[in-house]
Structure formats: structure tokens, C-alpha cells
Symmetry: C2
Subunit: 250 residues, 2 copies
Amino acid sequence: MTGWVKIVGLGPGAEELVTAQVQDALAQATDVIGYIPYVARVAPRVGLTLHPSDNRVEIDRANHALELAAQGRQVVVVSSGDPGVFAMGSAVFEALEAGPSNWLELDIEVQPGITAMLAAAARIGAPLGHDFCTINLSDNLKPWSLIEKRLRLAVEGDFAMAFYNPRSKSRPEGFVRTLEILQDACKDSRPIIFARAVSTPEEDIRVVPLTQARPEMADMRTVVIVGASNTRIISRAQGPIVYTPRSVLS
Amino acid sequence: MTGWVKIVGLGPGAEELVTAQVQDALAQATDVIGYIPYVARVAPRVGLTLHPSDNRVEIDRANHALELAAQGRQVVVVSSGDPGVFAMGSAVFEALEAGPSNWLELDIEVQPGITAMLAAAARIGAPLGHDFCTINLSDNLKPWSLIEKRLRLAVEGDFAMAFYNPRSKSRPEGFVRTLEILQDACKDSRPIIFARAVSTPEEDIRVVPLTQARPEMADMRTVVIVGASNTRIISRAQGPIVYTPRSVLS
């Protein structure tokens, strides 16, 4: 078998945040598979077939990639950000484990990318500069009670937090509840950052005290970062910097 | 003032994992500041002054960068990985906040990079494919009791975990204790991954059941990833894949 699958991260949006490794993989591919807006970021060329697909069909997409590779194709599966953070990495391995045993002989490689929380953190300072938790707020694939439990434990441990998929049209209630839990458990006005479409022309970054956060500040293109109790804001004419210090006093 | 500071991430080691954004910043710099082995990754050229410095002088380094920028220099502060994850980002902002008020007028930008845990996760599959915590195991700047508390809460929340700075010659005891806490709290043989010097010629990645993990498997060049309770291993002739599924059943 000469086929392969590379599961790659395109970063948050800007071309200058794509690694050379991923650019090389795309240059070698015969097939690119992924969610429509991510495949749209790949330039068409002779010899390359683009396979855009809709959201919520991750396992179909993963099976398709593995089938094509088993036929000898060179397949790149694209995610935005990093493929290992709430993206196609796990979906491909779920499909691999459930699939025919000859798929286990395929060359499969994951190529990392700049995930949204790191790009968002960089744009505002260094809010994830100390211990932090990364939580997917979608309850499509896990019970909401587990999300609530993790939020409360993250506050108890005084972690900074990054949230992916905070709010969608089909799940408007979860983020309302998230903010209620955080406001109740944190009992302070630490900064919360709403970073939408980071590194794209639509980028919009807003910092507010947690006490003033409102659900409509987030949508599915937003990554949300909540500071730890010691996270600081530096006020400047150019706009605020938010960072979490390296030290925690005993 | 025409000076600026860019705080950039060089990624875990391989040149192909450096973003074009960071390469451009290095090409524009008059001065590069950082820890000796990271500055050694920057090619010398006419017009560029390299300022390598030893470990544990992060604040001196940060002050130096801001002073040079205030004099009109174009300064790049290099970290490995991502500058916002246990790296120079927070140190520069601590120095900025404590420094003279004219520093607040400087152009300061953070440019993200591929942090070690994402590079390590990619090399073994997708162990951080669901909610996870990222913890710095060094107690140089925080009390050890807080590290223990966070470890126990992370296990209680069934997060996957990534550990930076797990073990150094001056702190041999902490990682012994970390493994004891995890083995006691997890009560299972979930996979733990020791990923050393990822993406460099010295790369060494080992997966063992948590019950068989030993302290000497880690050093300061190792990032450690611990699965959640549902993290899976796929055995293959080419070596194991470790991934955390996207779903948690209720």
C-alpha cells in the first residue's frame, strides 16, 4: 500500500500561521477531505481532488479518508486549528479502530497546528500563561452534567480556562448556564475574553469582567478564555493586555 | 518610538513547525533575546544581535527586551513551543507592568507557536482529543500543595492531562509524588505518554500503562500526557496509537 492519511491543522485562519509541514502535505496530496469552510482554504490544482463535506459527519469523513488511502491515494484530512484538539484526529482514530483490519497497515500521521485558544491568547497577551483547562462546551457527545462538573472543578483548582464551541443556534442554553456557574463559583470580576474568528479579517476580541459577560458575546466561531483568580489586566492606549502571572504565592 | 517587541514561539524543535509569521519576525529583528538553546536556533546574519541568556533569568531577559525596544530596536523574544504556555509571554508582561510607564506605548505582539503538548499528542495520535488540563509541575514559582490539588481535581473531572517541566535535577521528588497521586487516584492502567524532545533528532516517545510509569521516564525535555479514563490504544505493527474519543456516554 502506498496510500497515506495525514490529519493536519490549518491553524486559526491566517495563511502565515500554517506550518511548512502542513503546506508540504497539501502539496503532496491527491485528495483533501474536510468541513466545507476548511477545504475552501486549500488552493485547487491539477491532480488534487477536494472533498468538502458538511458539519456533523466527522465519522463518514474519516471513513472516506481511510478508504481512499487503502486504495493508494494520498489523503489530507484538514481541520482548523490543531487536529488533536476537538477536531478530526479522534474521529479518524475512532473510524480506524472500528474499520477493517487492513487499515491498520496504513501510514497515518497527525501534523499539529496553532489551535484557536493559543492564537486567541496571543492576540490579548498571555492569559493561559499558567495552568489551564481546555473544555469543549458542546453537549452533542457528552452529558451536560459532565460539563458542569468540569467547570466547577476548574474553578475550584483556580485554573485559567479555554472553551471551544461555546454556543450554537441549536444549543443556546448551555452557555447561559456556563456563565451562571462561573459567576456563581468565581465570585469575582476576573477577565473573560471573547475571541471571534482570530487571525481572519472578521477578527473581534473583547475583554470584559466576568460579572459583565453575556451569552450573546459568543457564537460558534468564538473561543472563550477565562482567567484564573490572579489573572491581570494592563491598561494601555493601544488596548488592554491580559496575562496570568507565572507565580502563585503560597 | 519605532521600536517593538515580538514574543514568538519557535515550536518544539523542527524547522518545518515554525510558522511563516515567526520567520518573518526573525527576518525583521535587530535583536533576538532568549534562553541559550532557543537563541541557538536562530541563524546569525549581519545586522542582527543575538542575546542568549541562561535559564531562570526570565525577568532580566524581559526587561532587557523592553529596554532595547524603548531605544528603538526591533526585538524578538524567543521561546520554544508557544510563548503563552509556560514561556516568555507572562514574564514580559510582568516586566512591562512593573516597569516605567513609557513602556506602555511600545508595540508588543505575541506570535503563537506549536506548543510541546500538541506536537507530542500529534506524534502518538490524539490523546488530547477531548477535555484536558495543562499543568506545569515545577514548584519553583508556586506551592507544591497547589500542584497536588490540581492533579487530584483533574483526575476527579476525568480530564486528560499534559504536564510541562515534569522533573529536573534540582526537583527530583515532585514527579515521584505526581505518579503516586495519579496511580492512587486513577486506579486504572490508562496510558501515560512520555514524549522527549519531540520533532528533534533526539525524539523519544514511550507509552506505558500508568501502573508501570516510573519517575526516571521523564526529564526536563519531556512533556508527559496522561489519558482520561476512556482513552484508547490501537495496537499496530507500526507502533501504538493513543487517542481520546470525542464521546463520553452518560
